[in-house]
């Protein structure tokens, strides 16, 4: 990597938006290059300084009173007509809320999601482009050959989701495969696949058996997650869809244990 190339990445790096190979490449360059490393430190310090100087102003009491008064006199919350226009959105949204209701109590106890799930959610939220763009999961799965040290089976999603592309990611100390999927209604689903050992914590607050797998469901940072193991591999799915939709997807793709290819 040249300095001119690193330049475009440094802001994203300082903002914690890089993952996987991008982050490794930048970090390696920072080790090798004193100038970029200096620039990077300055960027981080500048960001912190701006934040430190710009205090959040207090909300005026008058504003709080005005809002409280408006809410007091407002009619009860109406069910929005979106349900009638998009009946298919109802089960997903219902699932999302039900999931939230269950997790609400867990969240109050400040239970942090396991590191692996947090990473899956971070990868999901980062909008960095895919290494390979393809509408066929088979094609993406083939592309991973030789790039990760395990055999990536293509999920058989039928019409519950379509493939958008794939990306090699770092999962703690190993390489993993990441599929990005497109579910009807413009919802995105990320699927992280990696070699998992017994020490890897996939646990979420809810455990259910889906498609012959023990699946852990949870939420972290505004996304729902579903994680399970198959043989030596772990699968972590992340989405803006709720538990039921993810569950349905797993059921479709893994209705019976897949044969190793």
């Amino acid at each position: 990597m040249q300095c001119s190339e690193a330049d475009a990445f440094l802001h994203a790096y300082v903002d914690g938006e890089l993952a996987g190979l991008d982050r490794d490449t930048v970090e390696q360059h920072l080790v090798d290059c004193d100038d970029c490393s200096h620039r990077c430190r300055l960027m981080a310090r500048f960001k912190a300084a701006v934040r430190g100087h710009l205090r959040r102003p207090d909300v005026p009491d008058g504003l709080r009173r005005k809002i409280a008064a408006s809410l007091a006199s407002a009619p009860p919350i109406q069910r929005h007509r979106i349900w009638h226009e998009y009946p298919r959105a109802v089960p997903a949204a219902a699932a999302a809320v039900a999931l939230f209701a269950i997790l609400g109590s867990a969240r109050q106890g400040n239970r942090r999601a396991p590191v692996l799930l947090q990473q899956a959610v971070r990868t999901y939220h980062s909008s960095l482009p895919m290494d390979v763009v393809a509408s066929s999961c088979d094609q993406v799965a083939r592309w991973f050959r030789g790039k990760v040290d395990f055999n990536v089976a293509s999920p058989h999603l039928g019409d519950v989701a379509a493939c958008l592309g794939g990306r090699v990611i770092n999962v703690q100390d190993r390489f993993g495969a990441y599929f990005l999927l497109d579910a009807p209604g413009g919802h995105r689903v990320g699927m992280m696949v990696f070699n998992a050992g017994d020490e890897d914590d996939l646990g979420g607050p809810i455990r259910r058996t889906v498609g012959g797998h023990e699946v852990y469901f949870g939420t972290a940072h505004g996304a729902s997650t579903a994680a399970f193991r198959e043989r030596d591999l772990a699968y972590v799915m992340t989405s803006d869809l709720g538990e039921d939709a993810l569950s349905n997807m797993i059921e479709t793709a893994w209705h019976e244990p897949q044969q190793a290819q």
């Binding site: 938006e17 620039r39 300055l42 005005k66 919350i77 069910r79 949204a93 219902a94 809320v97 909008s127």
Partner: protein, 212 residues
């Protein structure tokens, strides 16, 4: 909360009220006027209340609220902002921005970082044109990810990145100028090279073709 029942005012208050401080802070820095900021926040909160049923609980409430706030802001101030962008164009054109980070001698940069004043940072931020300012505020003060900012500002992630990086550069340049004015920093940055375009894809393409 079960889903079969409709959300109540209590649900709304529990979800939305914790974000009041953030909403007001951003509204104030966008409108630069306390009265207008109050009106804007009130409008956004009441609009959120009206459409609270379309908010999917468990998803990111803060990002949803900021999207409403940003829409409300754009509806009110679009004209004014556009004028400002045009006026701002002269002083923020590429050639005049220079590079604070890496452009000035190291000791000058360090001196500036150590001696920035809050009122100068506030003044400089206020002078950054609207969309760049919003990107900087959302990323650096409110900790939103690029993806969330893209949703809030309703633009592609690449646009977020260029607005954010440019916004920061403008902010740095303004602070540097203030510091020079006040004699905090004596050296003026020279050789302002144009910014490298933010194109990570281009880099990846080059890299993968060179490896192939």
């Amino acid at each position: 909360m079960t889903f079969r029942r409709t959300a109540t005012k209590t649900d709304f208050e529990r979800e939305v009220m914790p974000h009041m401080g953030s909403l007001y802070g951003v509204a104030l820095r966008m409108t630069k006027n306390e009265g207008e900021a109050e009106d804007l926040v009130q409008e956004a909160v009441l609009r959120a209340y009206r459409f609270f049923d379309s908010f999917e609980a468990g998803t990111n409430c803060k990002a949803w609220l900021f999207r409403i706030l940003t829409n409300a802001f754009n509806n009110r101030y679009r004209e004014r902002e556009r004028e400002q962008e045009i006026l701002g164009e002269v002083e923020t054109s590429e050639a005049n921005i220079g590079q604070f980070v890496g452009g000035a001698p190291r000791d000058a940069e360090t001196a500036l970082l150590g001696r920035m004043l809050s009122r100068d940072v506030e003044r400089a931020l206020a002078a950054v044109p609207g969309e760049f300012r919003l990107a900087v505020i959302l990323a650096d003060l409110e900790d939103f990810s690029y993806k969330e900012i893209a949703e809030i500002m309703e633009c592609p992630a690449g646009t977020v990145m260029s607005r954010l990086y440019r916004g920061r550069k403008i902010l740095q340049k303004l602070l540097y100028d203030y510091a020079v004015e006040q004699g905090i920093v004596r050296t003026t940055a020279t050789g302002s090279s144009p910014d490298a375009p933010v194109d990570l894809d281009e880099y990846r393409r080059k890299k993968s073709s060179s490896e192939a």
